[in-house]
């Protein structure tokens, strides 16, 4: 399915152009319907009572007073949902571990303990106050390294298998076994490439460092919500999500329904950033409450609940040991990563894999030893957040690379250029870099920023520049392992796209309309899209898998081509010329040999419908993330193909540090980004800028403060997300490559860049202050402390 590039980009009408969003009109007029806007007749309102303690046995729950309150229609506890489990990760050895409502014990502050459905939100809130829960507190643990100590409190003991696992349902004949949790280790990965000892033996210089990253929040402006309507044997839901298929799978399984009896309806999504992937307690609870009351139920979380009870970014500790030759060539890399995954598994086993998997495509390192541990603590649960492991890993490794460069007398640019991978390389897991503009990303961003003229010139004087690299996948072999796209042609010459892909702000709908308008040669105004309805649309890769363009876009492109083939067959009958001689443009099909022989799309489609007695032209296309892979890579060894294409970027940041107050101002961020061919440069730049802003925020401002499992800053006043006044100048440089397997050569764009930005700012702060910061965030107090320590050290010498 290799893409043949037949047209130069100047010839494209819609692809490669900054076409305005197709959902723009609805969004600027307030007409776009989000889950929180869905009102159904007879709808009840749900509220959830959540644990105020991080680790405790539940002695008793008395719901009688709540049940007696007028307007209350149902009250449920863990007794009603006994044995039901769900989770982002479920393998034969790791059964789902999360109950929708706590049963015998609670494991984090914010865990659901009881829920109410009532005729109004106010009554539901009042009812929660009437529920009495008696807890017997247990010792708790909040840092993963402490949780791994033998005498640490045990958060989980044996996690029972709850029926056939996700794997078994997809044909992997492996029985689910209970998981015995030792030292609170939720999962462990060990990747070995080459010979690590030999690698270090060959090194001229070896360096070891420890880094630790912070907890941050996704901060999507739309609070998480659900509307659930259970009628007889069917569940209809409106959700705030990132792909309907993960949600549908877990709702069907936990509610005991076949997949087809759960319909995830289309709703616009008010931002996601990785934080709306897996099933949440409130989504199951609303569905269950709807089933027992016979009425639709809406639950919209408060902002405090979103912070405390949904998901957060994984904080990670890294021990990094790197060996290099005198010329900067890396000979060996030994990494131990320890992740605090929170009280339930969340994406812990995945993030410890990804911190490795997103590092490997960057540098050619012959000998690697990587150990990752996802560890349970009594903190809130962690999940993917933009970059998922990459920002954490890049913060550590890109900083250490700069430190090594300085130690051996190289520039940050040269040490990267000597180690980066090139197009055509095969990674140790078998992935092929069919496109790779990494070298050019470094060169162009360095040139544009005058990096070498500025670097090191103001060391310790409050002005600095830094660089960071990153790579990101374009879809992986997780259910549904690919995408099908459908394009339906109407008798007025227009087309409708059907795709299970979800539009959560990134521009998925627009990208698909551009592709189809281009392929069919019709006005984009004649293309409409119906997306992310799990019943009406063919399956697509959930968009948290970063295969939105590469896989879902490709499926739709092939569907359009399939429709075009059929269209041309009919046109060839009408015009009396061979199909091969026909092409499409401006809503017309014409002969390339004799352009006077032509007919409109409308004419052909009408002819086709009449001639074939109502057989409408339906184009179908299919794409998969990576050929020759049956399943995602092993979460224990990292072996197996992962993705069909990686995107790359180099970010350069310039900062100014006030040496008296420690306040950092980011002056400019340049992101040189290889996302293959940018199908819509405005959307691509929007993604890069959004990540520039978010990366800056993670380094300088945003930090979830957890004290004994309680988030102390669970609102937007205390959790400081940047405003328009805080942002730097941002520039995107498109490094165009054309990936042979992506639609028009396009690949991932939405989540890689942030990691390079985090690293670039950390490196720039070092350049400005002369102090290396190993822990995130780097706030003014941290900087002042670092400057003071440096001064004292210098005075002693």
């Amino acid at each position: 399915m290799q893409e043949t590039v037949t047209k130069e980009k100047e010839e494209y009408v819609y692809v490669g152009k900054g076409v305005p969003r197709v959902d723009g009109y609805k969004k600027v007029t307030g007409k776009a319907v989000y889950t929180v806007d869905v009102d159904l007749p007879g709808m009840l309102h749900g509220k959830i009572l959540r644990s105020p303690v991080p680790h405790a046995l539940i002695k008793s729950i008395d719901t009688s007073r709540a049940e007696a309150l007028p307007g209350v229609k149902a009250v449920i506890t863990g007794k009603d949902t006994q044995g039901i489990r769900f989770g982002f990760v479920e393998t034969p050895h790791m059964p789902a571990d999360m109950p929708p409502l706590a049963e015998d014990k609670v494991r984090y502050v914010g865990e659901a303990v009881a829920a109410v459905a009532a005729t109004s939100e106010r009554i539901a809130v009042k009812a929660l106050d009437l529920i009495e829960v008696e807890y017997k507190p247990l010792p708790a643990v909040f840092h993963p390294e402490k949780a791994m100590e033998p005498e640490a409190p045990k958060i989980h003991d044996i996690i029972p298998a709850t029926g056939p696992s996700f794997w078994q349902q997809w044909g992997v004949e492996r029985e689910s076994t209970p998981q015995k949790v030792e030292r609170n280790i939720c999962s462990e990965i060990h990747v070995e490439i080459g010979d690590i000892e030999e690698g270090f033996a060959k090194a001229d210089y070896i360096r070891e460092d420890r880094f630790e990253t912070n907890v941050t929040a996704h901060g999507a402006l739309e609070p998480h919500g659900v509307v659930a309507r259970y009628t007889r044997d069917k569940l209809d839901v409106w959700l705030s999500h990132m792909g309907p298929y993960m949600k549908r799978y877990w709702l069907a399984r936990t509610m005991g329904l076949p997949d087809s009896k759960v319909r995830v309806h289309h709703a616009y999504i008010g931002g996601a950033f990785g934080g709306k992937i897996d099933l949440f307690d409130y989504e199951f609870i609303a569905s269950y409450l709807s089933k027992i009351t016979g009425r639709p139920v809406r639950i919209v979380l408060t902002r405090k609940e979103v912070f405390q009870s949904t998901r957060l970014r994984h904080p990670m500790v890294f021990y990094v040991k790197t060996g290099v030759k005198r010329n900067g060539k890396i000979t060996a890399l030994d990494v131990t990563a320890i992740d605090d995954t929170g009280a339930y598994r969340g994406t812990g086993p995945v993030v410890v894999y990804l911190a490795h998997a997103f590092s490997i495509p960057l540098y050619r390192i012959p000998n690697v030893n990587y150990k990752g541990y996802a560890v349970y603590t009594n903190n809130p649960v962690r999940v993917a957040m933009r970059g998922h492991g990459a920002p954490q890993a890049r913060f550590a490794m890109e900083q250490q690379l700069d430190m090594i460069a300085e130690d051996i007398g190289m520039s940050p640019i040269d040490i990267r250029l000597i180690n980066v991978r090139e197009q055509g390389e095969v990674l140790p897991n078998g992935d092929i870099l069919n496109s790779c503009g990494l070298r050019e990303c470094i060169e162009r961003s360095a040139e544009r920023s005058d990096f070498m003229k500025k670097y090191g010139k103001n060391r310790g004087k409050g002005r600095g520049i830094g660089i960071g690299l990153t790579s990101m996948f374009s879809g992986a072999q997780f259910y549904p392992f690919g995408a099908t796209g459908v394009v339906l042609l109407h008798d007025d010459g227009s087309a409708t796209i059907f795709s299970g892909a979800v539009e959560f702000g990134q521009g998925s709908d627009t990208m698909m309309c551009q592709i189809v308008a281009e392929e069919l040669g019709i006005d984009i105004g004649k293309v409409s899209i119906l997306s992310a309805d799990s019943e009406l649309c063919p399956i697509a890769l959930d968009n948290w898998l970063s295969g939105g363009t590469f896989v879902n876009g490709r499926a739709v492109q092939l569907a359009a081509r399939n429709a075009k083939e059929q269209l041309l067959s009919y046109a060839s009958q009408i015009l009396g010329v061979s199909k091969e001689e026909l092409d499409v443009r401006d809503g017309e099909i014409f002969s390339v040999k004799d352009p006077s022989k032509k007919i409109s799309h409308e004419g052909v489609i009408k002819y086709a419908i009449h001639k074939s007695r109502g057989k409408q032209i339906v184009g179908v296309g299919h794409a998969t993330p990576v050929e020759g892979a049956y399943w995602y890579p092993s979460l224990r060894t990292g072996k197996g193909k992962f993705t069909g294409a990686y995107s790359f970027s180099a970010s350069v940041a310039e900062v100014e540090v006030d040496m008296d107050t420690g306040v950092v101002r980011v002056l400019k961020i340049i992101n040189a980004h290889d996302c293959g061919y940018p199908i819509n440069p405005i959307l691509v730049e929007g993604q890069a800028e959004g990540q520039g802003y978010m990366g800056m925020a993670q380094v300088l401002m945003e930090n979830i403060v957890e004290h004994d499992g309680v988030i102390l800053n669970s609102d937007f006043l205390e959790y400081k997300m940047p405003t328009a006044l805080d942002i730097p100048e941002m520039e995107t440089i498109h490094i165009e490559t054309r990936d042979p397997n992506g639609p028009f050569g396009g690949k991932e764009v939405g989540e890689g860049v942030i990691a390079g930005v985090v690293a670039a700012i950390a490196n720039a702060i070092y350049d400005a202050t002369g102090v290396r910061f190993h822990t995130l965030p780097i706030t003014p107090d941290v900087i002042l402390k670092g400057l003071k320590e440096k001064r004292m050290k210098e005075e002693r010498q």
Partner: protein, 156 residues
């Protein structure tokens, strides 16, 4: 219940509202103006920004009884039929919209700015929207869109 008379987007309404109902609840639940968004309910994010007698206000922080007799403009009141306000046009054209959840409030803040200052500087634009959080765009294109809109904006 208290009776209030309000004018919303040019239409007069007489409503009976509880004393503790916020303007946001009344706009969304009583009048069905779902374009007004709630992001935090505490006046921190600006998603519910509406104009009360021309002044931008977080509708979640105002009790409905306090706006008796006042004129309220929401995002639904900006376009004239299919004809969009220049700020709305400009937001679409310049890629200032991603998920769209902050967009209605952001546009209302921009409208107040341009109604009172037809040629704002970039710093004035940043200041004017600093009470509206956007999580998607990094603000770059929002600022550009407002700047561009100011060039075609006429005083009203």
């Amino acid at each position: 219940m208290y009776r209030i008379d309000i004018n919303v987007n040019g239409e007069a309404h007489t409503l009976d509202v509880p004393s503790n109902a916020t303007l946001l609840e009344v706009l969304r639940d009583n009048l069905g103006l779902k374009g007004v968004k709630e992001g935090c309910g505490k006046g921190e994010c600006g998603a519910c920004t509406v104009l009360i007698n021309g002044i931008p206000v977080n509708a979640c922080l105002i009790l409905a009884v306090d706006v008796d007799g006042m004129e309220i403009t929401t995002i639904e009141g900006l376009a004239r039929g299919d004809e969009l306000n220049p700020i709305q046009e400009s937001f679409i054209e310049h890629g200032a919209v991603q998920c769209g959840f902050c967009t209605p409030g952001m546009i209302m803040s921009a409208k107040h700015l341009l109604d009172n200052n037809s040629r704002p500087t970039v710093d004035e634009i940043k200041e004017a929207i600093s009470g509206n959080l956007c999580r998607c765009t990094g603000y770059v294109r929002i600022i550009k869109a407002i700047e561009a809109a100011s060039e075609r904006y006429s005083f009203r």
